[in-house]
Amino acid sequence: METREPTIAATMPVLEARGIAKAFGPVEVLTDISLTVMPGEVHAIIGENGAGKSTLMKLMSGHLQPTRGTVAIDGEPVHFAGPVDAEHRGLVLVHQEILLAPDLTVAQNIFMGRELKRGLMVNDREMNRQSAEAVHSLGADIDPTTQISRLSIARRQLVQIARALQVPHRVVIFDEPTASLTPFETEALLKVIRDLRDKGVAVLYISHRLPEVGAIADRITVLRDGKLIATRNASELQPVDMARLMVGRDMSKLYPEREDTTSRQTVLEVKNFDVPGYARDASFSLRKGEILGFAGLIGAGRTELFEGLVGLRTGHGDIKLNGAPVKFHGVRDSMAAGIVYLSEDRKGKGLLLAQDLRTNLTLATLGKFTKGPLIERKREDKSLDKAISDFDIRARRRDLLAGQLSGGNQQKLLLAKMMLLEPSIVIIDEPTRGIDIGTKEQIYKFIASLAKAGKSVVVISSEMQELIGICHRILVMRSSRIVGEVMGEAMTEDEIVVYATGVKVNEAELYSAGNA
């Protein structure tokens, strides 16, 4: 971990929040926040889901207007007419959610609204070149002429970051930029941020990955329930302290005690499963009570493999469920068979953002809430109450729309929705993406309790630490194939990386040969 003496004293804050408050309707979600951001500083904001981090960032970048208080640039109070106005003053925000035009290409998105021109014409060649460069500097290779709609969430996130950095900036705000990135992209991004800092740019940085925060931040501000709890120098805080400040209680143990809940009974056996274009020749088995991890780099094809398995996209191969061969023609079949898949794309495929919590919660299981043709609203409400308490969903009002929940709470709602199906096999894709540490702990506990109750869980995650922390066994995918298996003592980050990057070729080939 790099330590650095902040050089704050000499200069004046480039961006400042002075007693800012924000209310949505009668509910105040931020109270009296005062905050300074110095040039050449990385200032991290941490807090639980729904603490108000994103809202604060939106207030400081012209996306929202504060109910009380002011924002100041270079000591001058300012009023932003909108985000574009803020950008003109050198303030850019990388949103937590992906905001890109899906039909346009990477380069077209990166330069949207400020196209490079040659005479009357847009200079596509130059924009493509610069975009490729910008994306490359973030440690990724994305063809700049690819349509956004064809990219995975992670890649979209990278494009979005590249786009923000293309604007002339003095302050860059990153709202959970790494939530969907693997360690490699994360490392590249952190390097970019350090470069920014060294150039004197101020950076506001939000993340739920506390070690990462410790590594990059000069100062850290902790929010809880819309209030500012503390602003400290990073050197004074260890991740445990951060967690304590955020959650308000001691957070010594993130992962639950590992218990060997795995039984001998194989519940799911997959042989030579292909998802054309994404996964090839996948074979694995899952036992009752087992937590099986799937690791790999972005684009390795994990998501698509399981989408294929549950019938969400076309795939061929043999699936045996409790020993009996099955065929899933659609996701309904697999749901009926007790398998559920929770999408990593909670906004695009998980929740109806424009509908309320109740509608979302019961959408996949409406049959359980109907008497005759009639939906029983009372039972739905009761179920919502239960979900809110079971999964600790922080919604200040019941009639919020799913899109108005903070990112982490959307994830919890999705979890609650799919658990209503009472599955025996749960496949969770990126279960803790964008989730605060307190809630992570809850979700891990929840996964462990599922296994204990005799259900089987597949966890697809790009966070190797969490896979190692909770899984009994981990399979690693690379370039559409399962290339390795680690378990027991061998479950280390190094070992997984070796498989995921293809360094350990021999064993990988051995493994797939053994399956063939």
Binding site: A23, P26, G350, A354, L363, I375, L401, G403
Partner: protein
């Protein structure tokens, strides 16, 4: 209103969806404004007879538009309803003329069943091509619009298809002209279809699925909803609504002609949109739709009752009034916000 600030300053969907109740009320306020205009133009406008006439006349479009609310909430579109109405009416009358069953009452009842069947089949045709062929609803229903119309013209030999039996006609006529508890029968039918539509859309799981599909098809699919089946079903419902409208339409003039149902599709869609349902799907307002259908008919009525404009310019005034009604509605929404 609790949402004041949300509207002023949220950026995303927050804004669009926070003002739910306002959008729901706005069409009725616009309707009230039209009533005022009507009363100013001609004192007879507010007479019970006139209002009941208008209400009764709006029944075809209102009933069809209830079906269109389903189709549009699920993110679809149906341009074929007008010619579907003509086709259903034509086949129903041909059946009534065939004398296939003894007894006029039995025959009429069977005729209604035939109409409903043909309507449902026509809807199924639309739904199937759209979902299985994965073709834009606009193109499919434009195509079936031409098909239904042509077949009707062909059945009618270019002329009209009229009910032959005078006795049966007299027996059937009260379905349009009859009054029950002070309200004409078609008005009761609007109420019934509205109640049923609202029940299905708001209270049943099918209705929930319709909204889910229109709101985000992927989410619906990942939630295990049969997206295609739901979609197709909305078109079938639309077909049934068209058939119900035909059952009220046929007794009025006792005939289907080549012009029957001409432009009803545009009127139905307009009613739905004026009523507050968004064309992009994900929202459905049954009562707003019915209110919209009523508004359309009232605008026409006011035009005839007024003496102000040349008959050449009536279309222009009508168009303007509809745009202004929408503007009023938008402004009211913002005011109340």
């Amino acid at each position: 209103m609790s949402d004041t600030k949300t509207i002023a300053d949220t950026r995303g969907f927050g804004r669009k969806f926070a003002d739910l109740d306002k959008t729901a009320v706005a069409p009725f306020l616009a309707l009230a404004a039209l009533f005022l205009l009507g009363a100013l133009v001609n004192p007879n406008f507010l007479s019970v007879d006139n209002l009941l006439n208008v209400l009764t006349r709006s029944s075809f479009i209102a009933i069809i538009a209830v079906g269109a609310t389903f189709v549009i909430s699920a993110g679809g579109l149906d341009l074929s309803v007008g010619s579907m109405a003509a086709l259903v009416a034509g086949i129903m009358i041909l059946f009534l003329n065939s004398g296939a069953i003894d007894g006029d009452t039995a025959m009429l009842a069977a005729g209604v069943v035939v109409a409903l069947g043909v309507g449902a089949l026509a809807g199924l045709l639309n739904g199937t091509i759209i979902t299985i062929g994965k073709i834009e609803p606009f193109i499919v229903t434009l195509g079936t619009m031409a098909i239904f119309r042509s077949v009707t013209v062909w059945l009618a030999d270019g002329g009209s298809i009229a009910m032959k039996s005078i006795a049966m006609r007299n027996m059937f006529r009260p379905v349009y002209t009859g009054v029950f508890l002070g309200l004409p029968f078609p008005v009761w039918l609007i109420i019934a279809v509205g109640l049923l539509g609202a029940f299905i859309l708001y209270k049943t799981s099918f209705g929930r699925h319709v909204i889910a599909v229109g709101s985000n098809e992927d989410v619906a699919r990942y939630s295990g909803i049969h997206v295609n089946r739901v979609r197709a079903m909305t078109y079938i419902l639309q077909g049934i609504c068209v058939a119900i409208a035909v059952v009220v339409y046929v007794p009025r003039l006792g005939a289907a002609t080549t012009t029957t149902g001409m432009l009803w599709e545009l009127q139905a869609i307009t009613a739905v949109v004026i009523g507050g349902t968004a064309l992009r799907g994900g929202v459905g307002r049954i009562w707003g739709t019915i209110c919209g259908a009523f508004m359309l008919e009232i605008v026409g009525n006011i035009m005839v009752l007024s003496n102000i404009v040349s008959e050449y310019l009536i279309g222009a005034v009508q168009g303007t009034i509809i745009i202004i009604a929408m503007l009023v509605q938008r402004t009211l929404q913002k005011k109340k916000a």
